[in-house]
């Protein structure tokens, strides 16, 4: 008997996870829509998506670490590091384009170091990236002496505010990142190897995949996207804040996990991660518009995260 060819594609369970986060997002949006007329307006959703873009790009980076069964805690420091590099170089008179490249390169270096320690020295991902979180944060503070650095560039400001017609640049950056990551993971050989290393590193090694190099690449990719997010952060805030971004760190992992990826590796969902990022950002946005108080907002955000996870759990 030969392999039965024609099974409906929908059987592919791994893909179902892609639709849990979007489902939760729809529920949340509808709830906010019912609660306030100010939520589902073109302008608010536009801004909301812009606000989500940074977290989305960060989550896409985190996705690389997670897919090889790792975790990248260093984003909490790598993000302000890229921002500070951009701030410091731009302030020192380096042409903006070059400054942006330096910032991104700086983040890639952090990713490479993480990847080297995890991949080649086989150190535990959690500790490696926690250690580099601390080291990089210290270096950033040294660089800036703890001060925020203002970067007034009309180019960066335009990126944060403008777009092509109604389509904002930030959306396009996040979209481009998502498409690229999706393509890399699911349509290239490198992606297959990332999934294989995360799914079973012994088996991957046995098939000749250079497991160490693949791990290195995963963390480097996380660093790269973190650098891009850092530049976006500067564009949006008009400057660089050197302090640790624990929020972004936890949220980036949360977005990936809400999106349906397993922290045990081997599975990835690009749509999921991006939607996870939009979902988390929507909560802050929606609850702020509704105007619920500080303490209740904290409770509500947590409760919705739990509900979304529950929804994801009971997906088909």
């Amino acid at each position: 008997m030969t392999a039965t060819a024609a099974r409906p594609r929908s059987f592919d369970l791994a893909r179902a996870a892609d639709y849990a986060a979007p489902g939760a997002l729809v529920v949340v949006w509808v709830a906010f829509f019912i609660a306030t007329p100010h939520f589902l307006t073109l302008s608010n959703i536009g801004d909301l998506l812009v606000a989500s873009s940074i977290l989305a790009v960060l989550a896409l980076g985190q996705q690389f670490a997670v897919v090889v069964a790792g975790i990248d805690l260093s984003v909490g420091a790598n993000l302000p590091w890229a921002a500070a590099l951009l701030g410091a170089t731009a302030t020192a008179g380096v042409p903006l384009g070059l400054a942006i490249l330096i910032a991104i390169a700086g983040s890639v270096v952090v990713g490479l170091v993480n990847g080297f320690l995890v991949g080649y020295l086989k150190m535990t991902d959690f500790i490696v990236t926690l250690g580099s979180l601390s080291v990089v944060s210290g270096i950033t503070l040294l660089l800036t002496e703890g001060n925020t650095v203002a970067v007034s560039s009309s180019f960066l400001q335009a990126i944060a505010l403008d777009g092509i017609g109604p389509v904002r640049w930030f959306w396009l950056i996040a979209l481009a990142a998502a498409v690229l990551v999706w393509f890399t993971l699911f349509r290239t050989r490198a992606g297959t190897h990332l999934l294989a290393v995360g799914g079973g590193s012994d088996a991957a090694l046995g098939s000749g995949i250079p497991v160490r190099r693949v791990r290195l690449a995963a963390y480097a990719a996380s660093g790269l996207l973190c650098g891009v997010a850092g530049v976006m952060l500067v564009a949006r805030n008009g400057g660089a804040d050197p302090s640790l971004q624990t929020n972004y760190l936890l949220s980036s992992i949360a977005a990936v996990v809400l999106g349906g990826s397993s922290l045990f590796g081997g599975k990835a969902s690009v749509v999921g991660s991006v939607t996870g990022a939009v979902l988390l950002t929507s909560l802050v946005n929606g609850f702020t518009i509704i105007g619920i108080s500080q303490y209740f907002q904290t409770i509500a955000v947590g409760a919705v995260v739990l509900l979304a996870a529950l929804l994801a759990r009971f997906r088909k």
Partner: protein, 317 residues
């Protein structure tokens, strides 16, 4: 003196100062003031900190560690009203001088634990909030809708500033929303954006610190409402002054942490030489708007206007 011998007096006190963190420019300025003053007066000053605004126990560990290291005088900025009391007990038992810096430590709990402070040197955060409220009233012509951006939930200085602002504007300004932004620029930006959707008609924002003020200003610019909404925040960090100068931030209440740091060192030296120091030294606060920002920038991080320093005479020479 407290049994201090003359030789020790000549060499000056060893001073330990512990604050919340150095990632907030505010505390970095306090450190710089203390270190500069120590250098100038030729005394050893060690400034340490926890890792965040709310790292109560991290700060405690620093105090405990330094307590065993032979310092003569401790200046402590608490994370909250009570966290430093227990670790200070051994310090008090060793009869070292303790100064309470910046934020008030619970007096009742302190005396119950047998800890007393030679002096409180700090600014009054309720007063800062009140001043901000008054300036906001003036800026808005006495009426209008405003929003308050809150700091990290549970952080006491922010709570006090909010209180002062609310009292000063009560019955006059309509506070349409109090929104948390965790002392973060990016979060303040995001939150302000959302608020502008629900309340496009607000004319003022009070941010509990400058970092959030900068985020709010950015959101207002992004929304094309520059000039229509006045933002006042607290701290007087350099970036905020620059923003005031460029006309983005309406004003900042500067609290001179740098001066606080200097005062702390002066108080230690005075106490060490056996001079009585005042129970309460209120560090100056000032409202910096476009009118005085140049002066302030010129004298940064010191106050641009002289203030009444009761310690100056004690350490003169």
């Amino acid at each position: 003196g407290r049994g201090g011998d003359d030789a020790k007096q000549a060499s000056g006190p060893k001073i330990a100062i512990v604050t919340r963190n150095f990632t907030n420019p505010y505390w970095a300025a306090l450190r710089d003031g203390a270190l500069a003053e120590g250098k100038q007066r030729g005394v050893e000053v060690n400034v340490q900190a926890g890792t965040s605004e709310t790292d109560a126990d991290g700060e405690n560990a620093k105090i405990s560690t330094l307590a065993g290291q032979g310092y003569d005088c401790f200046g402590v900025v608490p994370v909250n009203a009570s966290n430093v009391i227990t670790p200070l007990v051994p310090v008090a038992r060793a009869k070292k001088t303790i100064l309470n810096l910046d934020s008030q430590i619970d007096p009742a709990a302190s005396s119950a634990a047998g800890v007393s402070y030679a002096s409180f040197i700090g600014s009054d955060n309720v007063a800062a909030g009140t001043l901000a409220g008054q300036k906001m009233l003036t800026a808005l012509g006495g009426t209008g809708k405003v929003v308050i951006l809150q700091g990290i939930a549970g952080e006491q200085n922010g709570i006090n500033r909010e209180k002062g602002f609310t009292e000063a504007t009560g019955g006059k300004l309509d506070i349409v929303q109090r929104a948390p932004a965790d002392y973060e620029q990016d979060k303040a930006l995001q939150v302000t954006e959302a608020i502008l959707k629900a309340h496009p008609d607000i004319t003022g924002i009070f941010a509990a610190n400058d970092t959030m003020g900068l985020g709010a200003v950015q959101a207002i610019k992004n929304a094309g409402l520059a000039g229509k909404i006045k933002v006042i925040s607290v701290d007087g960090i350099k970036d905020a002054l620059a923003s005031v100068k460029s006309g983005d931030l309406y004003g900042t209440i500067t609290q001179y942490p740098y001066a606080e740091g200097q005062l702390a060192v002066q108080a230690c030296i005075a106490a060490h030489s056996g001079k009585p120091i005042p129970q309460r030294v209120v560090a100056p606060i000032a409202f910096i708007d476009n009118a005085v920002v140049d002066q302030q920038l010129a004298s940064f991080p010191k106050p641009f206007a002289p203030f009444d320093n009761p310690l100056a005479a004690l350490v003169a020479g």
